[in-house]
């Protein structure tokens, strides 16, 4: 049998894939499996649980805080992703032009992404402070408002504040990735289009954008996943407040699972995020990556 394995053309391939497979199994599949299992139990921190079927999910179904967190998460992800994409693409196009100090600008654009999230979140915490916000202070100095803006105390303001902080943090990733994509587009295509009399909008719409689509699909998939699972920003800024207006599924899962001790319920909330994540992945896969030329065929 080993002899035939040695003869097989596939055996070395399988062998080389083994470390990656073991890694995936141990560090991704296993925790995911355990998490899913925990969602079907009433495990508390510090005591093993019993299998209770769908009870956690039935409880969540009737829990308005959970549904509020679902709404918040979808809103947060949708608004932040669209803004990040629009602003990121814009920034990438600008950086792709011939600017003075090009490398310098490209480097500093990455800064928000490089700063540890917790640090930038703390900076935003000060920026949005109900008494000491620099924005409120400046506007009051100008005499445009007469009292500090209630950034994190009002539901609408709080949502807008956390989304803007997330957008600020997420733009560099989108911009730099799209910039990399832009650089792979051969200038000769643009030149050809120019010679044919295409306007700059037409060049963008019919040359740049189609060439960029595969990269956009990958970048936005990642961006949506990062945003959907965001935790640190919310936890530092509001801990989900005011009155759960900014609680995301990830923060609610943590709050109930770890400080609240209801590990099973926390796991169930985390598992409830999976369908949304799968939907986002499938959308980008089928919606944006369908072009045949990616597989070497003609579009």
């Amino acid at each position: 049998m080993f002899a035939s394995l040695g003869q097989s053309r596939n055996a070395p391939g399988l062998l080389f894939m083994l470390p990656a497979a073991v890694f995936l199994l141990c560090f991704l599949a296993y925790p995911l499996g355990v998490g899913t299992w925990l969602g079907f139990t009433d495990t508390k921190i510090g005591r093993p649980g019993q299998f209770i079927g769908l009870e956690n999910y039935e409880m969540l179904w009737t829990d308005s805080v959970f549904w509020l967190s679902v709404f918040n998460t979808v809103l947060y992800t949708a608004v932040a992703s669209v803004l990040k994409f629009a602003l990121g693409l814009w920034l990438a196009l600008l950086l792709n032009e011939n600017l003075p100090f090009k490398s310098f600008f490209r480097a500093i654009v990455l800064l928000p992404w490089v700063v540890p999230t917790v640090l930038s979140a703390i900076a935003f915490w000060w920026i949005f402070d109900s008494q000491f916000s620099v924005i409120s202070w400046a506007l009051m100095k100008f005499g445009w408002i007469d009292r500090p803006i209630n950034f994190l105390g009002d539901s609408f303001n709080a949502r807008a504040s956390v989304i803007s902080a997330n957008v600020w943090r997420g733009i560099p990733f989108v911009a730099i990735s799209l910039l990399a994509g832009l650089q792979t587009i051969s200038p000769s295509l643009q030149e050809a289009a120019s010679l044919d009399g295409a306007t700059s909008w037409q060049r963008f719409r019919f040359v740049t954008l189609p060439m960029l689509t595969p990269i956009i699909a990958v970048v936005m998939t990642f961006s949506v996943l990062f945003t959907f699972t965001d935790f640190q920003l919310i936890y530092v800024l509001t801990k989900g407040g005011p009155v759960n207006a900014t609680h995301l599924m990830a923060t609610l899962s943590f709050q109930r699972g770890i400080p609240g001790g209801q590990l099973g319920e926390g796991a169930a909330i985390a598992v409830a995020m999976v369908p949304f994540l799968l939907a986002a992945i499938l959308f980008s896969f089928f919606g944006l990556q369908r072009r045949k030329w990616q597989q070497g065929g003609a579009d």
């Binding site: 921190i45 510090g46 109900s130 994190l152 770890i258 001790g261």
Partner: protein, 435 residues
């Protein structure tokens, strides 16, 4: 924090003398348990990272004394206070890790069968040192047995600016909730409002919300664990809170634990509730000398219920059953709780930690600064979270899920009527107390 070595020595000497005289009166209690540390024993203690440096210094110094006396090595690790709960639960669950931990609130009641029964030691200490405060005893005891030794409550009290209270036409902070509301109205009219956290502030938010509820006679559950939050008392508390909230500085519904400190020290609010650390932040900063000199402290006013009832953070010492050295661990705790060590520790904590045993009321720290006085009563007026029901996973989960904090925030911001807010809190709490 700002206690010099000389203060400490002088204070300790006084305490020793005091304790020496005080002892015989209390010594009638349980027999002194004798622990025989296992051969080659060594202990690992995991505690919360200190809020006051003197606390840690005293704890380490006491542990060193224990090592010198017994030859048992004690290794002390610390974790940020928020990580204590999951760490302790995991240690209990997997059966390894530290031998002794200092944990919070109802933590011991999450895994009571994983903890060494310390009843003889607790009874001995209780008998010797004037008894445990009932509120703290509740945290340590389950089914008549001590599964933990209550260590301290982290006192919470009103801190205010004397000049601003006087400017508003009051000599002191009124002792009743009605007068208190009048004071807050006057403070707002003077442009020096009060501020209490209605956001997801683990400590300040919960302390304030529980005081509002309890002072009006409301309670989350009855003694059987049946949810009773939706009551006329609760609605009265919510209405009172709404009136009070109108006098606050704007934005308190977003406040986390640190915001009231910042606002107070920046002269933005005249009155708030906090641990004594806020006073020391002002006192230790030369730039804030003026504010520090103006700070006074007092307890929360008494509501219709007629007595002081408050929540404050509490901590207990637990010994895990998985320890290889249960005798050494108990000997260690016994040593740490004896007057000589305990007085040093309470003194070192500079009024941040309030004793669990009544005899330590006489610790000189409580009279060393008038600001400390209300903090000395912290343990006496303490009620466990989840009052009046049993402690356990449900009480822990309801507090961690901010059910009470959210209820008040919903009502005061006008998102829901008081009646709706109480009903919703009932629904949310029932999810945890259902079985």
């Amino acid at each position: 924090m700002t206690i010099s070595r000389r203060d400490l020595l002088a204070g300790t000497a006084g305490v020793l003398a005091g304790a020496g005289f005080g002892l015989p009166a209390f010594a009638q209690g349980a027999a002194e348990p004798q622990f025989k540390p296992e051969a080659g024993a060594s202990l690992r203690v995991l505690r919360w990272a200190p809020f006051v440096k003197g606390d840690e210094d005293a704890w380490i110094a006491n542990s060193k004394k224990f090592t010198e006396k017994t030859g048992i090595d004690v290794k002390i690790d610390k974790e940020s206070w928020e990580d204590i709960r999951p760490k302790a639960a995991v240690a209990a669950n997997v059966g390894s890790g530290p031998d002794i931990m200092l944990v919070w609130f109802d933590d011991p009641h999450q895994y009571p069968d994983k903890l060494v029964d310390v009843t003889p030691l607790a009874n001995y200490l209780g008998g010797k040192y004037g008894g445990w405060y009932p509120g703290l005893e509740g945290y340590g005891k389950k089914d008549g047995k001590f599964i933990a030794l209550p260590l301290a409550s982290i006192g919470n009290a009103l801190l205010y600016r004397d000049s601003q209270i006087k400017a508003a036409g009051f000599q002191d902070v009124p002792k009743d909730t009605k007068g208190f509301l009048e004071l807050c109205k006057a403070l707002k009219a003077k442009g020096t409002p009060a501020g209490f956290a209605h956001g997801k502030a683990v400590g300040d938010g919960n302390n304030y919300a529980h005081w509002l509820l309890w002072s009006h006679g409301g309670q989350m559950v009855d003694d059987k664990g049946k949810v009773t939050i939706n009551s006329p008392e609760t609605v009265a508390a919510l209405k009172y809170a709404t009136e009070l909230y109108k006098t606050f500085i704007p934005g308190t519904e977003s406040w986390l634990d640190i915001n009231n400190n910042r606002a107070f020290l920046a002269n933005q609010i005249s009155l708030t509730a906090n641990g004594v650390s806020l006073y020391y932040s002002a006192k230790n900063d030369p730039k804030l000398a003026e504010i520090a000199a103006d700070i006074r402290s007092t307890n929360f006013p008494i509501g219709p219920v007629g007595k002081s009832v408050e929540l404050s953070q509490t901590t207990s010492s637990i010994i895990f059953k998985h320890t290889k050295f249960p005798q050494a661990a108990q000997a260690y705790l016994k040593f740490m709780y004896e007057a000589e060590q305990m007085n040093d520790w309470i003194k070192g904590s500079s009024a941040y930690c309030c004793q669990a045993l009544k005899a330590f009321e006489s610790n000189p720290i409580w009279t060393s600064d008038p600001i400390h006085a209300p903090y000395a009563k912290s343990s006496a007026m303490l009620r466990p979270n989840g009052y009046a029901g049993p402690l356990g996973p449900a009480s822990a989960a309801v507090m961690a899920d901010y059910v009470l904090v959210d209820m008040f925030a919903e009502a005061v911001t006008g998102q829901r009527t008081p009646e709706e807010a109480a009903k919703r809190a009932e629904q949310r709490a029932t999810r945890y107390y259902r079985g």
